[in-house]
């Protein structure tokens, strides 16, 4: 269910776990590896123990805020080729407004809080770490 995985994400399997007669709206968000420049794949790595705990915390927080919603998160690790999904969020709720809201909330929090890193793999075999801050230094600057 909620997990880090090295296998391809099966949206059908996720939907099967979350759809029900009580939840009339289901939103699926898939983050897909994009063919930016000569990128052929992204190698995802994680602080596994913390990422697993953080996924649970994120879902617990969201379910405290939207008690009728049900949420599943999966994030790929390892090499994910262009065109394949790296992250999937499925949020189901009694009505569509809540399903859209929860799904959007979850991807934004995942990007802010999951200790996961991307290394872009280029067509010539070289690779580069992705730094979302855009700074040319060896790490982040914020401490909160």
């Amino acid at each position: 269910m909620n997990k880090l995985t090295r296998a391809r994400i099966s949206v059908e399997a996720l939907l099967g776990q979350i759809q029900s007669g009580e939840r009339g709206g289901t939103c699926v968000f898939l983050g897909t590896v994009r063919n930016d420049g000569d990128v052929t794949a992204i190698d995802y790595s994680a602080y596994d123990e913390m990422a697993r705990e953080e996924i649970v915390r994120l879902i617990d927080e969201a379910q405290a805020r939207w008690p009728a919603a049900k949420i599943i998160v999966q994030h790929r690790l390892g090499v994910v080729p262009v065109g394949e999904a790296s992250v999937a969020i499925v949020a189901a709720a009694p009505h569509r407004d809540e399903a859209f809201t929860v799904c959007r909330h979850m991807i934004e929090e995942i990007k802010k809080r999951l200790p996961i890193w991307k290394k872009e793999i280029h067509a010539d075999g070289t690779s580069t770490w992705v730094d979302p801050s855009g700074k040319q230094i060896a790490g982040g600057l914020r401490d909160s």
Partner: protein, 82 residues
């Protein structure tokens, strides 16, 4: 003294050439103080940014958080999941 496991990930693991090390600091030292010790003792750690993201026992914390014997501190490059 407190013995702290310090873990490095992604680019920081490449900078230091290791994924984990053990560092001794005075009990109740802050993570900033631990970082200074790491810079002094771990090869390559001088190139870590001045204020990296840090996690204490699997939770993100500010650099003024205090450590205890047996804690695990992780230094996290800018997060880029999704």
């Amino acid at each position: 003294m407190a013995e702290i496991t310090v873990r490095f990930f992604a680019r920081y693991a490449e900078l230091t050439g290791c994924q984990a090390t053990s560092v001794e600091v005075p009990e109740s030292a802050t993570i900033s103080e631990l970082l200074e010790r790491v810079r002094e003792t771990v090869p390559g750690a001088r190139d870590l940014p001045p204020r990296p993201l840090a996690a204490l026992n699997l939770r993100q914390v500010k650099l003024d958080a205090r450590v205890s014997d047996g804690d695990e501190v992780a230094l996290l490059p800018p997060l880029s999941g999704g």
